[in-house]
Symmetry: C3
Subunit: 343 residues, 3 copies
């Protein structure tokens, strides 16, 4: 019997099935430092223990997206090894900050299945939860992927499509315990703009750009223990290119959005996201944002903004889709998230 | 007087000479995190403090090979600066796990000398020991290198060839105190295969591959404070290529072997190893393994496997040498080691 | 109103103005480990907690230059975003070592202003201080940059040129509390050369070289949260090259000087420095040093050396300027600093 992991095929999934993913991971100051080396991350709450304490947290947490990547990376061998497309995200919520010393693991429940009409593949919906060493859920999100069938004769399962919220409501968002922005230091954070300064519909060109190198995206993707061949093996694709992990683009885009959104400190909700076009080494990534919605929260001094974050490789900002409704070729990422901002 | 280190030449070594190597090093979570960024390392015992505690250790140790590289790196200025070839390893044993906070140093004893018949170089055998801040030996191994003479008129020393075991016996292996695999969690570790599932002669193609970038091998090699010119200075070799540190290939190969050997948690013995051909940036490394032997141990639930680990740059798996008995040109590494596996 | 930071222009500075820079940063073992991966750093005092304790410090500090880069990086958005040239450094002093767990912030005072005769730009002099979480100054230095005017009609300020010492006097240097080199272990440090072994005028060719990769300088520069476009965005300059942060060259040069200056443990003074020519990916950096002065200190066993450190990309060592008094084209860096050495 072959000892290597062949991955699951469409016919291997069952509604309600729970998959406990392998390789728990303890994080330390090392992961925090690497995140700052890999991305131009400057949000003060994740950079300074003192700043984090000044807003009611015990110390600076691991970047929210680093937590996401660590939880996500564990799911790859079980969920997306034989995936032909990563179709979407929904209902992503950060429930507890992750701190140095925490050990993360993750598990996924199959919540939807629908075989494609061609009979060769199907769509698998999972809800993934990341938990810490105390068994507390730190993060959960839904993802759906198209997965190949191995046995084309395997019977199609009854189609089950989960009801997923297109957008999280403000009351769905979980504010970290103790978070208090009433003594927020705007000078240390880097910009004066408050929650009230952002208007729905406002667009921001974040100006800065980063040209990606192979070594960088591989270091990052390995750090999250996401070992999908296509990111590392230049002989795997016919064109000899290594596809950059979509999460690398998300983190790069979020970090680049600091310039104009320095006070968008925490990410607490992921409404959806599309990897519109593949990203490769040599691409120069630039980003723009749009304010989609605003909401108050019960936490002192804390407001929420729903933001669109778009990463492009060249092209003018604020252009997203063509007349055909499809993403323009230079668009890499279209992300819809909720963030916490001082009022 | 020149203040830079010219390195030792063959005539500078004496049997019984002990060289205390410079630059002790304290390790932290930073080195652990970097190891995960540099290699696709996923063995659970080194990734999770919780998993390590579940098998009787106080926390996740530094990867065994990282400990090896740190100890090895210190020897380079004293042993291999004027080496023309790295000939072999033997009797490598890991005696104590290395944890964040430990400070490592190393020393080498000259245990063999033999001048070559051409009178221009000779073979130097050393036994190197790595010790922690408590003076405990954490690792020892023998290595032999061919070193140039500077003074060709220096008299040849009496030839002394050490008796080195071609293979460590199971009773030579040191099992970390407290290690207990009876409650081993195979789901968290990533594969169901136990010690008893591996048969002598069984071969495993580990499937995954990594294309190496210059920045990556230099970051890694520097991290171990191995500063041999040939790895860093593109003007040093006539062909303008930077030779990749052999240890980088060892770590990459070991990490890639996770897929099929996820439960080969700890490396406790190094029987031998050959860097069959040089490795350069752009090479895509793939690996295969062969089970060479099996042994029981006195530790609860712990078995030992003697494994061959072969790294290649392309070429079919399981092909090692040609009809002439020489390594095939695509073979990079042929390593023979003992590892601990749950029974 | 645009929310992104346009940077300050020449007319935005006032004598006596104090700018508190954004984004404080807590350092950990992660930054220490990354420094060892990014540079061939081997000075024992920064590598080993045990060695640091043997010379009177509580543990190994963060490398002095890493502290410099962290303090410097915070000033970029406020001081040099619209700079056309980085003109010089003076009166740099390290006042307190920085340890894992410390949180650094920085502020700058405008101490000089002089509009250029063309009316389009001017020179801004700032004194920057880095402080830790206890409000102690850990580092201070002066820097002057040429900054563009935005409003060419803005009136020229009264010219104020600060009096800056061309060289710090030995009595200006601050020796870390408790530092005692009387039990200094030269074997562990890597070289036998003491303070008394270095003669004024002595030159050292440090022999080793490193060829720089794009990924490396970007990782380093981001780690210091210096996000100036020109280092990251290959589309920013007309030639498609990313300019390497001058501080990356400083750190690389200092680390390469280990071979011949292994006992030049701590940097305590920066007298001046010039980035003579731009550095780009692919350059192979080599370094040489010259002893400029020597001084005794009040600390037990501790002497000070004033050193010139020159980084080049090829070319013979010890050649610095042409007949025209200008730096030769292969010279990258000319640094003048004070370092502490065992007597």
């Amino acid at each position: 019997m072959a000892k290597t992991n062949p991955g699951r095929f469409f016919e291997d999934y069952r509604i309600g099935q729970v998959i406990d993913h392998a390789v728990p991971r303890t994080v330390s100051g090392g992961e925090r430092a690497l995140y700052h080396a890999l991305y131009p991350a400057r949000h003060a709450l994740y950079s300074s223990d003192e700043f984090a304490r000044s807003v009611g947290l015990p110390m600076a947490p691991l970047d929210d997206l680093a937590a996401f990547h660590l939880v996500f990376g564990k799911t790859v061998p079980d969920v997306s090894l034989n995936a032909v497309a990563n179709l979407g995200y929904a209902e992503g919520r950060w429930l507890k900050p992750v701190y140095a010393g925490d050990t993360l693991r993750s598990s996924s429940e199959v919540i939807g299945l629908k075989q494609n009409s061609n009979g060769k593949s199907g769509v698998v919906y999972v809800r993934t939860r990341g938990t810490n060493q105390r068994g507390e859920t730190v993060l959960e999100y839904c993802r759906w992927v198209m997965v190949r069938k191995k046995d084309l004769d395997a019977p199609a399962p009854e189609a089950v499509l989960p009801e997923l919220k297109p957008v999280l409501a403000p009351e769905d968002l979980v504010i970290p315990e103790g978070l208090d922005f009433t003594k927020y230091d705007f000078t240390l954070a880097g910009e004066p703009h408050r929650w009230g300064d952002y208007a729905v519909g406002e667009q921001i060109d974040h100006v800065d750009g980063v040209t990606i190198e192979e070594a960088e995206h591989m270091l990052a993707t390995r750090l999250w223990q996401n070992t999908a061949k296509v990111h590392f093996d230049a002989t795997h694709r016919e064109d000899g290119k290594r596809l950059i992990y979509g999460g690398h683009v998300i983190s790069l885009a979020r970090a680049l959005s600091f310039n104009g959104l320095a006070n968008a400190q925490m990410i607490v909700g992921l409404n959806g996201g599309a990897h519109a076009n593949p990203c490769f080494s040599g691409d120069t990534v630039k980003v723009w944002s749009e304010v989609l919605d605003r909401a108050e929260t019960a936490a002192p001094g804390v407001g929420a903004l729903r933001m669109r974050l778009v990463a492009t490789k060249g092209g003018a900002p604020f252009e997203l889709k063509g007349d055909d409704g499809k993403y323009l070729p230079h668009v890499l990422l279209d992300l819809d998230y909720w963030t916490l901002v001082p009022r």
